[in-house]
């Protein structure tokens, strides 16, 4: 006789984790195909177009890499924050604040600097601004117990309104029909790889961040973050300061979101405008929200998130392509991304238990 038994699993293997990620993507795509079908599209055809639109040509691949850059930067930061259970959902706001600061430094610096130093200053200011914006919530969370999700989220809307205020008010460039600032001086625009929009200085920063984070897991801080995230009570017993952990992961993740914002302004748009964070009409398609999925799909590890960033960037690129070619609303991509996240969370239970087949069950 064969019997099934369910047992607790202590440490899930890497292959199982990868399998769960793959499974949740498949589930999300299946449910997504149901959605597509109800809207009168042929799901298989749409998915084929989507994936050939991502990996089929050089320009599509380059576009995917372009979209990978902000997702990589933010996703890495969020992976670190989520590891410590600091629910930083404020990446869109931190990215916008970073973009505002970067553009401000580029346009309104009262003294002259050589171009490379000026660009470096833009990035540093963007990092500081994003980090400071995130630190507000981290401080309130740690000192008075303000809910992190609510705090960071509400500040997203504050940041968006601030951007709109600047664009429609004091920073608006005269003589342009759109609410844009004046374009950045050409010397401050980031160089791109020939024929593409890949602003490689930011990409290099992103890769450096991945490497640093891989090393970080072997340092004391990385260890403390891991312990704190798994069991805050045990961490405080071991003398790990919750204030230090929360503040540092929030400052790092907020700062990285700020860097991503500067990269978008200086590398892609060359002006400050609405949608600088990758959001179109629907605010939810901001890179800051998408990066939440990147961090979870990458199992909150540095390398995993890097791969996930590339994959999700592919879906975004393909989504734009499918929207243009087939007329599928872009919101469909958002829905599928949400489904991926939900099934990832639901599928996590598989990694906690294993099903054992045994003969002669008692």
């Amino acid at each position: 006789m064969l019997g099934l038994k369910i047992e607790k699993r202590v440490t899930p293997s890497l292959w199982l984790e990868l399998g769960i990620s793959a499974l949740s993507i498949v589930i999300a795509l299946l449910v997504g195909s149901l959605l597509l079908w109800t809207q009168g599209f042929d799901p298989l055809h749409i998915y084929l177009t989507l994936f050939s639109g991502v990996f089929g040509s050089f320009s599509a691949l380059a576009e995917t890499l372009t979209k990978t850059i902000p997702l990589l930067l933010i996703g890495e930061g969020l992976a670190l924050a989520f590891k410590a259970r600091a629910w930083n959902i404020g990446a869109p706001g931190q990215m916008i604040i970073g973009a505002i600061t970067g553009a401000g430094v580029a346009l309104f610096l009262p003294f002259d600097l050589p171009a490379p130093a000026h660009v470096a200053l833009m990035f540093m200011a963007g990092f500081a601004a994003g980090a400071g914006f995130a630190a507000i919530c981290a401080f309130l969370n740690n000192r008075i117990g303000l809910d992190m999700v609510i705090g960071t989220l509400l500040l997203n809307y504050v940041a968006l309104k601030l951007l709109l205020y600047l664009l429609y008010g004091p920073w608006r460039a005269p003589g342009i029909g759109f609410p844009y600032t004046a374009p950045l001086p050409a010397s401050l625009c980031l160089p791109t790889l020939a024929g593409t929009r890949i602003h490689y200085p930011t990409l290099i920063i992103g890769i450096a961040v991945v490497l640093i984070f891989v090393l970080l897991t072997r340092t004391k801080l990385g260890y403390e973050v891991r312990v704190f995230g798994e069991n805050p009570a045990a961490a405080s017993y071991a003398g790990i300061s919750s204030f230090k952990i929360i503040m540092s992961v929030m400052i790092i993740s907020g700062g990285l979101a700020g860097l991503a914002g500067v990269g978008e302004v200086a590398g892609i748009h060359h002006v400050l405008k609405q949608g600088v964070d990758g959001a179109g009409l629907a605010y939810v398609s901001s890179y800051g929200y998408t990066a939440v999925i990147v961090a979870w799909l990458g199992r909150r590890s540095a390398l995993g998130s890097a791969l996930a960033a590339f994959f999700i960037a592919g879906i975004l690129t393909g989504g734009h392509g499918v929207q243009l070619i087939e007329g599928v609303p872009y919101a469909m991509v958002t829905a599928i991304l949400g489904l991926i996240l939900i099934s990832l969370i639901g599928g996590a239970i598989l990694s906690q238990y294993k099903i054992i087949m045994e003969r002669n069950p008692r």
Partner: protein
């Protein structure tokens, strides 16, 4: 306290030998005891005050608001239209918060309210267009909300997933769905609208009439739900079960309460009410649908649920406060304030209000089992 018992012992020991000297000593001791207990009382006073305020904080807030309105009326400012708008803005928040209170009281934090409200708004208006009836749209919006919340409940209750990221997934799914569904009718004016039905006598009351009794039916429904849901939650067996499940699911389970069923029901009810809030947004209030029209109101609901201290009465007062904040934007716009800075107001005020509440009451009393999945192992 020590001194008191000490004095008491003294009194007992000199029962037989009552001399004048002893009496004097005793008197001094009683005085001493009294003064120490007074000091003890004064020391404990802030705590007592906070306990009292925690109970009466809403009453105090209401009193302050009434005072303000009367002050403005006396100063010759017409507060009627402002109050009327306040209640309309408060209604979707109220629906969402009432539902979320039930979900959180049962121990499940559903962060996807923003997504559910968005989908409710889109499904509601498209349903109203298709069915040719606003009520059908409202019903469909509610159903879509309940369905989405049920999906979330499967992940959060049975699959024991982490509620925060699952809720974020629901937020994105809901916003995406709303875009997919609503895009066909984006910006189109709905011809089937609800009409205002002022309640005959009550609507003539000077200030309260305009605030509460000159609205469409859905607003009255929200107002009726407040005492009903308060009563069910705090005065009935069902409510007791819900609260126990949220505080101590193991105890509830051993008492024969079906923890899973209660959680599924509460989360689905929360979703249905959030969907209703979204449908109110598009059908009753705006009369059209636009992508991203919910614009963070679902997140305000999450904040309001904390702010209400998980109490339906608190939800009413809190949503009136935030509805008022939103209505104030329109008043201040006329005075020449920049519109986008004013747009920050609801979010900033929520943040400040929550922070000051936390400074004031250190422990808000959230359901103990919130965020903790229950398993029978």
């Amino acid at each position: 306290m020590n001194k008191v018992s000490h004095a008491h012992e003294k009194e007992k020991s000199c029962d037989g030998c009552a001399s004048l000297k002893d009496h004097k000593k005793l008197e001094a001791n009683t005085f001493f005891a009294f003064s120490t207990s007074l000091i003890e009382f004064l020391k404990a006073f802030p705590e007592v005050l906070i306990k009292w305020l925690k109970k009466k904080i809403f009453v105090a807030g209401l009193a302050a608001a009434i005072f303000l309105v009367f002050y403005l009326e006396l100063a010759g400012v017409k507060t009627g239209p402002f109050l009327n708008r306040t209640m309309i803005f408060a209604t979707p928040l109220l629906f969402g918060t009432l539902g979320e209170i039930y979900a959180e009281r049962s121990g499940v934090l559903n962060l996807g309210i923003e997504g559910i409200m968005s989908t409710g708004a889109a499904v509601g208006i498209v349903g109203a267009f298709v069915a040719g009836n606003a009520w059908a749209g409202v019903a469909l919006g509610m159903m879509s909300g309940a369905l989405l919340a049920f999906l979330f409940a499967i992940v959060a209750v049975h699959l024991r997933g982490m509620q925060v990221p699952a809720g974020l997934g629901l937020f994105m799914l809901g916003l995406g769905l709303s875009g997919v569904i609503g895009v066909a009718r984006a910006g189109e004016k709905l011809p089937y609208r609800f009409t205002r039905t002022p309640i005959p006598v009550l609507s003539d009351i000077p200030v309260l009439g305009e605030l509460l009794f000159q609205h469409v039916f859905l607003v009255y429904l929200a107002l009726i739900l407040v005492p009903t849901m308060w009563f069910v939650l705090f005065k009935t067996r069902i409510g007791l079960n819900i609260r126990t499940v949220g505080e101590n699911p193991a105890a509830a389970d051993s008492a024969g309460v079906n923890v899973f069923r209660i959680r599924y029901l509460c989360v689905s009810l929360g979703g249905a009410l959030a969907g209703l809030g979204g449908a109110f947004f598009s059908i009753a209030w705006m009369g059209y649908w636009l992508e991203g029209m919910i614009a963070g109101w679902g997140w305000l609901v999450i904040a309001l649920t904390i702010f209400s201290l998980w109490d339906p009465i608190g939800a009413l007062l809190g949503s009136l406060l935030f509805g008022g904040m939103h209505a104030l934007q329109f008043e201040l716009q006329g005075l020449g304030f920049p519109i986008h800075i004013l747009g920050m107001l609801p979010y900033l005020v929520t943040l400040i209000a929550l922070s000051s509440l936390l400074l004031f009451i250190r422990r808000l009393g959230a359901p103990s089992a919130l965020l903790q999945p229950y398993t029978r192992e």
